[in-house]
Amino acid sequence: MNATTYFAIGISGAVQHLQGIKGCRHVIAINRDGGAPIVKRADLTVIGDAEELMQALITRVSQARNQGEVPEVER
């Protein structure tokens, strides 16, 4: 796979899987297990329940869109 951003949601990171996502630029992992192999590969790992976190992310993203937030990060 050759994606710019890859969300590994509830993916522990089997060897084959890691090999498959070798070409991805940004890997963001959501996992309950902090010792999973994907943690070593991911650029950002969030520890927690995948479903709850995705709900929170969706809420946060739609909120940010609706309010037309200006990102704090400088462009």
């Binding site: 710019t4 951003t5 060897v15 890691l18 090999q19 070798k22 940004h26 890997v27 963001i28 902090g34 192999p37 943690v39 070593k40 590969r41 991911a42 650029d43 950002l44 790992t45 969030v46 520890i47 927690g48 709850e52 976190l53 709900q55 929170a56 992310l57 809420t59 946060r60 993203v61 940010a64 869109r65 037309g68 937030e69 990102p71 704090e72 990060v73 462009r75």
Partner: protein, 263 residues
């Protein structure tokens, strides 16, 4: 060229690979056996050098009736001495290489050059036939790698280096060892002492360096694959703490930071 075929086999002393005990050099014994198949009892067996009796007696046991020994000192030029001694021999058989000493395997080539004769290496079988004239023709089967063989025909005189795998039967008979004779021919040793031809080698004892042992890695294929995949990864930021909302913010920050979203 004489009408009778003159064949000579050159022999050198061998050493047992483990004990170092003097014995017949196997390659030369094979060459001698091949020569006996061609010439029978008329085969001349020649040794140039200072080999001990015991290893030469092995050749007597393996089929030589008489061994002609040309005494040479350590720096004597065997090639020139042999060339002058074997001028009138039609077919000269040698082994491929000596079992100890310099063992360069150059003797058949150097001898052929000194006698201005063709040389054929890695010979497995040889048959000699009389030609229409008064000459002799040799038909030779030559060893090539990977089971290949080559048939070569060449007119005598000739030097052939016999391959160690030549199919000959070596029979050891103690009675022959006792009854055979070793004759020393008093050729003038100074004849062929070409100092310039001697290789300018210096002999020194080999210094043995300690070899560092490396423990063998016994890892499973899975572990090796894992190492190959994970080794490149450096490991990124891990968000352990905070509420679900905080963590969602962390993700959004990451996306914004890398300009993966435009809001």
């Amino acid at each position: 060229m004489s009408s009778a075929l003159a064949v000579a086999a050159l022999i050198s002393g061998g050493r047992h690979p483990v004990s170092g005990a003097p014995r017949a050099c196997r390659g030369d014994a094979v060459a001698m056996a091949l020569g006996r198949r061609i010439a029978g009892d008329a085969l001349r067996v020649v040794h140039a050098g200072t080999e001990q009796e015991s290893s030469l007696q092995d050749y007597l046991a393996l089929g030589a009736d008489t061994i002609e020994v040309m005494p040479l000192d350590k720096n004597g030029d065997a090639v020139a001495a042999l060339a002058s001694h074997l001028k009138n021999v039609d077919l000269i058989l040698t082994g491929t290489r000596a079992e100890f000493g310099a063992g360069s395997g150059m003797l058949p080539y150097a001898l052929a050059r000194a006698l201005a004769r063709p040389v054929i290496a890695n010979v497995l079988e040889a048959r000699v036939q009389r030609t229409a004239g008064d000459g002799w023709d040799a038909e030779i089967r030559q060893f090539l790698p990977k089971g290949q063989r080559r048939r070569v025909a060449c007119a005598l005189p000739l030097v052939i280096a016999v391959h160690p795998l030549a199919p000959v039967e070596l029979k050891y008979a103690y009675a022959r060892r006792v009854s055979g004779r070793i004759e020393r021919c008093q050729e003038p040793a100074t004849i062929g002492l070409h100092v310039m031809q001697q290789p300018s080698w210096t002999v020194e004892t080999a210094s043995r360096r300690p070899v560092r042992l490396k423990a063998r890695e016994t890892k499973s294929a899975h572990a090796r694959m894992q190492a190959a995949v994970v080794a490149e990864a450096k490991g990124g930021v891990v968000a352990f703490e905070g509420t679900t909302v905080d963590k969602a913010q962390v993700m959004l920050n990451y996306l914004r930071e890398h300009r993966l979203v435009d809001f």
